[in-house]
């Protein structure tokens, strides 16, 4: 039993971590540029639905992913218009957007189910999956490394980070803050949507109302826990994924501890990291609407 235990546990960990990684990377990207991305949960939910609908109506996993990306881009543009272009408060917009997205996705899902019963059925396993792990896992790891390299080893990455530290200084240095932030937030939202697609296309192959159930917020915690560093954020996602996998197993093994205590871990851990690290390395300008002077 001892050797048979580890592999399934690791697989379960990776399954749970994959959608989180995309979303955590999207938070890192947006907040490095100085835009707080609380809307991650709502975009993830929309991406999850879009992915499934893409697969059902066009019959191909990759079309589903493209459709999910497209929806992510559109929502990202919408969020960018509201929070960067206008600009209104990023936190309020994000929170309200999540509620709105929950309503709209559930509504569209119901309409789609009435049109086509296949929406309710399981979609095919994503091609290229091995051991229950979809290609999303590989993509997530590649993106993590790429993001780290881009953010910390390239000129554009440096510019983005400087924008997150002080938008007005970045403006003085000749960066068009509004346009750049809008582009970044749009790209970030596409990543969040991809996280949703990783959940529906790559993992459970189905959708229900509010299927993400706060996973976007866990990704948010992972990004903060990883101090806005893509590598650390991904590590945090894997850690949280392991916690989730462990919670099921402890429950199934009849261990006494209430599973809800396990679910507190990501948030308490993040608080601890924040307490230890303080302001250090946090993008200083996050959450402040940039108003052109």
């Amino acid at each position: 039993m001892s050797e048979g235990w580890l592999a399934p546990f690791l697989l379960a960990t990776l399954r749970a971590a994959t959608p989180l990684i995309f979303c955590a990377l999207s938070v890192v990207l947006a907040e490095r540029a100085g835009v707080i991305h609380i809307g991650v949960e709502g975009v993830m939910l929309a991406g999850a639905l879009a992915g499934l609908l893409g697969v059902v109506f066009w019959g191909d996993a990759y079309v589903g992913i493209l459709f999910s990306l497209l929806v992510g881009l559109i929502l990202g543009l919408l969020l960018a218009l509201i929070t960067v272009y206008l600009p209104s408060d990023q936190v309020v917009t994000g929170i309200v957007f999540n509620i709105f997205s929950l309503g709209v996705t559930s509504f569209i899902f119901r309409l789609a189910a009435e049109k086509n019963a296949a929406v309710q059925a399981l979609i095919p396993v994503m091609p290229g999956s091995v051991f229950g792990l979809s290609p999303f896992m590989v993509l997530a790891l590649v993106l993590t490394v790429f993001m780290w390299w881009f953010m910390f080893r390239t000129g554009p990455g440096l510019k983005i980070r400087s924008m997150g530290e002080d938008a007005h200084a970045a403006h003085a240095a000749g960066i068009n803050v509004v346009i750049t932030r809008m582009l970044i937030l749009t790209a970030a939202a596409a990543l969040s949507a991809l996280g949703g697609a990783a959940l529906t296309i790559g993992w459970v192959r189905s959708f229900t109302d509010n299927i993400t159930l706060g996973r976007g917020f866990i990704a948010l915690a992972a990004a903060y826990c990883g101090r806005w560093n893509p590598l650390l954020a991904t590590a945090a996602c894997i850690l949280f994924g392991a916690g989730e996998a462990l919670a099921f197993r402890a429950q199934a093994a009849g261990e006494g501890l209430n599973p809800h205590y396990f679910l507190m871990i990501p948030y308490l851990l993040t608080l601890l990291v924040v307490a230890v690290a303080g302001k250090g390395r946090a993008p200083a300008d996050v959450g402040r609407p940039y108003v052109r002077r």
């Binding site: 609380i38 209104s88 309503g103 996705t105 507190m264 990501p266 948030y267």
Partner: protein, 357 residues
């Protein structure tokens, strides 16, 4: 300018004046939202008139509905104070929902374990709720003051930690053994908030809510404390230089706000639901954020805005089962108007800048 024809000038000035009217943004955002929801209703095969009619009928027609709506207003108003007050000091408290949850469970702990004269026990429970809400914000507050950590991050984290803690308690240590879902025992009859009838039957929490909102208005706009608070919120460095104890001011506002959120939970537990159970709470703490935001400079506006949100909340259930639309439409109703409002508001306030440049 003078060269323009009279009509054009009139139209122009009329358009400008409408845009300046205080009703412009709220009315436009409501109309736009109703338009979107109407389109969704039509797509679903329900006439928009029936849908909206059912919404208001469900919230306002009859004493039962009216009482539900008034009771719903109370936690919304208190939860928005939990955002409003700290925000004046420049602290964005998103942790209202978590503070509300621990407040509710603390009130339940008191009424389930302490016996004595009802007045004493209920007072104790309400104080415990405030205390719990307050404790739930201490960590983010300390991290903000001592380590400069963003409170947006930390209060969100506290939210989910608190919600899971309450879930753990109601499915574990405090679970009513006879119930099949996670719930505490019901609060004993004598320790529930007293009710009174004035047209509709509501519990005395309404006075607490009204009093606190009025108190906040007085505090922020009529006292030197309010002036200082505003200074701290807008320009902390200037306030510091002028001799205001900035950290103390922030701490006071934040703790006061969080106590309001805890109170909202306690009042709701003892006055309306009588049990803390899985899914017992709507997202009052989250809804409080847009309410505080919409209220803007005038905290008295919290009451009518909270009432409006309460209408959407209580009317939505009736609307759902009378018209057969998906329950999800309720969320659209809660999200969309605020989304449109903040956008229009931001657009309007940014407009002069653009013209001047």
């Amino acid at each position: 300018m003078q060269a323009k024809s009279g009509t054009a000038m009139m139209l122009n000035s009329y358009g400008k004046r409408f845009w300046d009217l205080p009703v412009a943004v709220p009315v436009l955002s409501l109309l736009l939202s109703f338009l979107v929801v109407a389109v969704m209703a039509v797509i679903f095969g329900v006439s928009p008139g029936t849908l909206l009619g059912a919404l208001f009928e469900g919230a306002l027609k009859g004493r039962f509905a009216m009482a539900s709506t008034v009771k719903e207003t109370i936690p919304l108003a208190l939860a928005s104070l939990a955002v409003y007050l700290p925000y004046r000091a420049g602290f964005f408290n998103i942790g209202g929902q978590g503070q509300l949850q621990v407040g509710a469970i603390s009130a339940m702990v008191v009424v389930l374990n302490v016996s004595g004269p009802p007045l004493m026990v209920v007072t104790l429970a309400v104080l415990a709720a405030m205390m719990a809400g307050l404790l739930a914000v201490v960590v983010p507050l300390l991290l903000k003051i001592k380590r400069g950590a963003s409170e947006v991050t930390t209060t969100i984290m506290m939210n989910f930690a608190c919600i899971q803690l309450v879930n753990a308690l109601i499915t574990g240590a405090m679970k009513d053994a006879s119930a099949f879902f996670g719930t505490t025992l019901p609060a004993p009859e004598q320790y529930r908030l007293p009710e009174f009838t004035l047209g509709v039957t509501v519990h005395i929490g309404i006075f607490i809510a009204l009093l606190l909102v009025a108190g906040t208005y007085w505090l922020t706009s009529r006292t030197t404390f309010g002036v200082r608070l505003k200074a701290v919120g807008s320009k902390p460095s200037v306030a510091e230089a002028s001799g205001i104890a900035v950290k103390k001011m922030i701490a006071l506002a934040v703790l006061g706000g969080a106590a309001c959120a805890g109170l909202a939970g306690g009042i709701q537990a003892l006055g309306v639901v009588y049990r803390v159970a899985e899914g017992w709470s709507k997202g009052w703490g989250f809804t409080g954020i847009p309410i505080a935001f919409l209220a803007g400079k005038n905290s008295l506006a919290i009451i009518p805005i909270a009432f409006m949100f309460a209408i959407l909340e209580t009317g939505a259930r009736y609307m759902q089962f009378m018209t057969g639309v998906p329950a999800a439409l309720i969320f659209v109703f809660q999200g969309l108007p605020v989304l449109v409002f903040v956008s229009l508001n931001a657009w309007r306030s940014s407009k002069p800048n653009k013209i001047e440049r």
